[in-house]
């Protein structure tokens, strides 16, 4: 199975084969990450630029570790979008990186479509590390890898995503991936946090947590953005937590062997209680481990393909 795309800009548009190609490769890379010497020489001499216009510790570090384990030179650019303030556009920034022969550009940006815009101006592969509320494809891939590790099969699994769906790129990427792989997806949140025409994405919509997680094999809790309170999406954190926070009591509605995922960082006691985070169902740290393997796999797959072999 081969990954057929030049970039990874989003999960939408990937075939089942593309997704499985990454997951399969990542399974192997995970073995490498567990050796004493975790570094392989595969990408020696290649330059990977980690351009983050939004603050992120986990994702940026994960990409950096992945690149370094492949022996690539990884350069972090903390684009606080300050260069944009100074007058340089994203397109100009990208053209400069192109001129410096960057082999892979990893971009995290606050605006939807930024990765696609960058890819239009770069001849080398681009990995979207999150663009606005659009997509966060590597997160979805590492989530699937984690689910497959525990459940073996992906097809037919019942997944419930809970939280601020409207402002979640993690939710979108996961929904695309899960629908492509034949999984059953529900979303739960207050109507103010469910975007327009959500059902057309092929998911069931619930506004009640207990109903939404009934018989779920997997529950994915999304981080609630504290700063969004003042935009009237919900009255208080207290009420949000009462209605949509996951605790051991509510968890009983799900299957006995349910997995709990969270893309992090977690607000303990708000969207998810501490006993659930640290409990037996939680695979939150496995997600982090798998993130490195997924990103190594992607770098390997993206750099192996020349222009001629990509459609």
């Amino acid at each position: 199975m081969q990954y057929s795309q030049k970039h990874l800009l989003g999960i939408k548009g990937l075939s089942k084969e593309d997704i499985l190609a990454v997951l399969n490769a990542a399974d192997t890379f995970k073995v490498y990450t567990q050796r004493d010497i975790k570094k392989v020489p595969t990408l020696r001499g290649r330059t990977i630029i980690n351009m983050f216009f939004e603050p992120s510790t986990r994702t940026r570090t994960s990409f950096e570790i992945a690149g370094k384990r492949m022996s690539a030179d990884v350069i972090n650019i903390a684009g606080s979008s300050s260069s944009v303030v100074k007058g340089e556009t994203l397109v100009d920034t990208v053209k400069n990186l192109e001129a410096m022969n960057c082999d892979i550009l990893i971009i995290r940006h606050g605006e939807a479509g930024a990765a696609e815009l960058a890819a239009r101006h770069l001849s080398n592969p681009v990995i979207n590390a999150g663009d606005g509320y659009h997509e966060h494809p590597t997160q979805a891939l590492l989530d699937l890898m984690t689910i497959r590790e525990h459940k073996q099969e992906l097809e037919g699994q019942k997944v419930t995503i809970v939280g601020d769906i409207a402002h979640s790129r993690v939710a979108r990427s996961n929904i695309y991936a899960m629908k492509t792989l034949g999984m059953d997806v529900s979303v739960v949140g207050p109507p103010t946090m469910i975007p327009a025409d959500m059902e057309k994405m092929g998911v069931k919509v619930f506004h009640n947590l207990e109903k939404g997680i009934k018989d779920a094999d997997v529950i994915m809790m999304l981080r609630i953005q504290m700063e969004r309170q003042n935009k009237t999406f919900f009255p208080t954190l207290r009420e949000y937590s009462n209605l949509f926070g996951l605790n051991l009591q509510k968890l009983k509605k799900a299957k006995k062997d349910v997995l709990i995922l969270h893309p992090g960082p977690v607000n303990r006691g708000i969207e998810i209680s501490t006993d659930v985070i640290d409990g037996p169902h939680s695979v939150i740290l496995n997600q982090v481990t798998n993130g490195v393997a997924i990103r190594m796999a992607l770098m390997y797959l993206l750099l192996g393909l020349s222009d001629e072999t990509v459609n």
């Binding site: 490769a25 192997t28 490498y32 990408l43 750099l303 192996g304 393909l305 020349s306 072999t309």
Partner: protein, 178 residues
């Protein structure tokens, strides 16, 4: 018709001879391990392991290397071989290791294999066994054990077919299409 350079019986005899040579050269089986290079180095190593068991009644440790990530031609524009796992289930440190591969050609695969092996520790020594040596070395690498030397032109292909992978035992020489 492509000429058969080794048939099933000849393969078996060659492996048998190499097994004896390994035991002889290392004065027995102490501190010795076999490592097959994917793909067909693996059944080759397994057959050596079985043969040595029948000679010395010792089961040597067996490892598997997938050298894909250590290759030096990763970006030549072809799509990637699927990578599979490397399994070295024994300490490499202070062990004499016999690398096993089906065909020795440029030597680049062996270079990659040695590099990967070193990431597992510092072996006491590394030897090389190959079923076919077809020449055209590009690196200063020489085999310690050879099933058969077959002079080839660079454009030709040596196809080793082993029961475990291909359902038959045979080595053939193919004139590569233009």
């Amino acid at each position: 018709m492509n000429p058969v350079v080794l048939n099933s019986q000849q393969i078996s005899r060659a492996i048998s001879r190499i097994a004896h040579e390994i035991v002889e050269k290392n004065s027995g089986c102490d501190n010795l391990a076999l490592v097959g290079i994917r793909t067909r180095g693996v059944p080759f190593a397994k057959r050596l392991q079985a043969k040595i068991k029948s000679i010395e009644n010792v089961t040597l440790q067996l490892g598997i290397l997938d050298i894909t990530l250590y290759r030096d031609d990763i970006q030549t524009g072809r799509s990637h071989p699927e990578i599979r796992s490397t399994e070295i289930p024994f300490p490499v440190e202070e062990t004499k290791i016999v690398l096993c591969d089906d065909v020795l050609f440029t030597g680049r695969t062996i270079r990659a294999a040695i590099d990967e092996l070193m990431d597992f520790g510092r072996p006491a020594g590394v030897q090389l066994a190959t079923l076919i040596d077809r020449g055209h070395r590009e690196l200063p690498i020489r085999p310690d054990y050879v099933g058969k030397n077959i002079p080839t032109s660079k454009s030709q292909l040596i196809k080793v077919r082993l029961n475990e992978e291909d359902g038959e035992d045979q080595v053939i020489l193919v004139d590569a299409p233009q």
